[in-house]
């Protein structure tokens, strides 16, 4: 695994700024643990080979384009992964500041499985802290995009804090056209009674897109996550949600589409640390071509987290012979008075349904597109905002 250390994480590549202490600590941890390989349990289906073969350039690429969105929003554009924070017009109640070293010094990304987190901490360009108060009507869009000549590595780092009772929608729109590495770390905290709807719509080209989102959810707070991943050469998203106080709740819905030689790996974990916490998760992969889709959904109900409830379901469609899907729920329950249901299926397009549609005059191609679309859209049906729901479902329709 030293190939990646050599190309990404030599000491000489540590930015020289006033975060030196933080960076050195992260770098040390990275060297100690190394990057994961196929023997690392959480990475056993996702190889970093593509990445190892790359040389990363420091040259500044051309301006990346902003996505067009059919709804009004406050947009933060991370051009080639870097936010230009001058002239930001943030709504009242939303503030953006650099993270303090005190906060960064306390970060723990664990062992080898968290190597990219350490890499981010060693190499981040900026570490931002977004704080949100009150009821935010308009969504905040984090647009992370790369240009065609992007061959570098970029490490966006963002903490998102929702004050007690705050409500917000954060929509990440990730559009990659490059061939580098985008390595995102997000640290999300919902204070009491806060309500966050967090959406990710991602389409990656040749870049490796690695993201780690950790959310802590306090008393009576509500974290909702939707992901639409439209594939990429190497995409890995780790989402870890911790329900830290009673009444906290998490809902995760996602759809992944892979085709050709794309590879997308979603690892989610929901930690029920205390009792009276609820979670629900539904995740779908549609794999076509030689695409590979991985989903690992871990639910961990800690000792003493009695009277907690969780439901995890993953349904998957294998659309070609050379596609692969690894989808696994993983339950660990140490509490009492708990309900935890889970299900996992991998199937193919339903012949009966195809035939039914065709007997109504719908040609075979269109019929299978309709079925795929219907299957892929299901996790978004519960999005209340019609414009956002239709936007995501429309993005799906373009691919299927």
């Amino acid at each position: 695994m030293s190939a990646l250390i050599d190309s990404l994480a030599t000491e000489a590549r540590l930015p020289a700024d006033d975060h030196a202490e933080v960076r050195r600590r992260a770098h040390k941890a990275l060297l100690k643990h190394g990057f994961p390989d196929l023997k690392t349990e959480a990475w056993k289906y996702t190889s970093l080979r593509v990445l190892e073969k790359r040389a990363f350039s420091d040259q500044r690429p051309g301006l990346s384009s902003l996505p067009e969105l059919p709804f009004a929003a406050t947009v933060l554009h991370f051009d080639n992964g870097i936010l230009d924070a001058t002239d930001l017009n943030l709504p009242a109640g939303v503030s953006l500041q650099p993270q303090t070293d005190e906060k960064l010094a306390a970060v723990d990304h664990g062992d080898r499985a968290g190597a990219f987190g350490w890499l981010n901490l060693a190499r981040f360009e900026q570490a931002w802290q977004l704080r949100i108060e009150g009821q935010q009507e308009q969504p905040l869009v984090l647009a992370i995009s790369t240009a065609e000549d992007f061959h570098g590595d970029v490490h966006p780092r963002l903490a998102i804090e929702l004050a007690a009772g705050a409500t917000a929608q954060i929509i990440e729109v990730h559009e990659d056209r490059g061939e580098g590495l985008v390595n995102i770390v997000q640290d999300i905290a919902l204070e009491r009674g806060a309500n966050l709807h967090h959406l990710v719509s991602r389409h990656s080209a040749q870049s490796a897109w690695i993201q780690r989102s950790e959310a802590k959810v306090a008393r009576d707070a509500d974290y909702r996550f939707h992901a639409l991943d439209r594939g990429g050469r190497l995409t890995r998203h780790d989402l870890a949600v911790t329900l830290t106080e009673s009444g906290a709740q998490a809902e995760i819905d996602g759809t992944v589409l892979v085709n050709d030689r794309q590879h997308v790996d979603f690892h989610t974990a929901i930690e029920h640390e205390v009792g009276h916490t609820n979670s629900r998760e539904s995740f779908r992969i549609l794999a076509d071509g030689s695409g590979v889709g991985v989903f690992n959904g871990r639910i961990h109900i800690h000792r003493g987290a009695d009277d907690s409830h969780s439901d995890l379901n993953t349904a998957n469609l294998l659309l070609s012979e050379s596609a692969r899907i690894n989808a696994k729920p993983e339950l660990e329950i140490y509490a009492e008075e708990v309900t935890a249901s889970h299900g996992a299926t991998i199937g193919q397009l339903d012949d009966q349904a195809l035939f039914y549609l065709r007997t109504r005059g719908i040609p075979a191609d269109q019929a299978s597109a309709l079925l795929k679309q219907g299957f892929a859209a299901a996790p978004f049906e519960n999005i209340e905002s019609e414009s956002i729901r239709n936007w995501l479902i429309g993005e799906l329709g373009q691919l299927l």
Partner: protein
């Protein structure tokens, strides 16, 4: 309209239809009865072009055209409609969207202009009203979570919107309550215009009382073993299929 000659159909290599003859003229309504497993649905599927329903012998002509050469969607565009005995649930596909896609796909295949959503909605709403269905069903996924009777009525709504030349209705009356049965019968009668033809597969006299079929056929072991007028269905209702075996013996 439909001319079936000596039709042999095998499913998974097993012969189910064993030399079936049937002619349905324009505007006619034929009832097809027969014991469970005799091959009624198989005939419907074979007509609609289901994969794995292999015509091993004989022929089926629809308005002079050899059906075997057409894909299921081409048969639909040519004017053939099958109301399924067990309508299929299609999760995630909106009922109204599906119906409009179907109608427009057929129109496109026939070189006709697509219908706009206003005209379309008007047509669907009328059919829905005739069948006293809840309009909310239009916004739901096709057949998903529909009750048995709702599914059957939804088939008739589709027929009314698609306006086929020949409709094969496979036990559309099974599982309907008495009022719904009457509504479905009205739906069918409303579409009888002297040109459109029907094959109505049923086990019961009740539906036929409303429909007054031109011919009644009995299918047994893959063949039509008896044909007649309405008196035949009355006799079946009274005596069951036992007399067939006697006459066959």
């Amino acid at each position: 309209m439909l001319n079936i000659k000596n039709l042999h159909v095998a499913v998974n290599g097993k012969e189910i239809l064993k030399g079936l003859d049937l002619d349905v003229g324009p505007g006619e309504l034929h009832a097809l009865m027969g014991p469970n497993g005799s091959g009624k649905s198989t005939l419907g599927y074979a007509l609609a072009g289901r994969d794995g329903y292999e015509i091993t012998d004989g022929s089926v002509a629809f308005e002079g055209q050899d059906l075997a050469e057409l894909e299921p969607e081409e048969r639909a565009a040519a004017g053939l409609f099958l109301a399924f005995q067990y309508p299929v649930e299609i999760p995630g596909v909106n009922n109204a969207y599906f119906l409009r896609a179907a109608l427009n796909a057929q129109r496109k295949a026939r070189g006709e202009e697509e219908v706009d959503s206003m005209t379309f909605l008007k047509t669907v709403r009328e059919s829905i009203k005739t069948l006293k269905m809840d309009e909310a069903l239009l916004k739901r996924a096709v057949n998903e979570g529909f009750s048995g009777g709702e599914k059957k009525r939804n088939e008739i709504v589709q027929m009314a919107v698609l306006q086929p030349k020949l409709a094969v209705l496979d036990e559309t009356d099974s599982g309907l309550d008495i009022d719904a049965l009457k509504l479905v019968a009205e739906g069918i009668n409303g579409l009888r215009d002297g040109k459109r033809s029907f094959i109505v597969i049923t086990h019961y006299q009740r539906l036929l009382d409303y429909l007054t079929p031109d011919r009644v056929h009995v299918l047994s072991d893959g063949r039509i073993v008896e044909s007649g007028g309405q008196e035949l269905s009355h006799r079946l209702e009274a005596e069951g299929y036992a007399f067939l075996e006697e006459s066959a013996a």
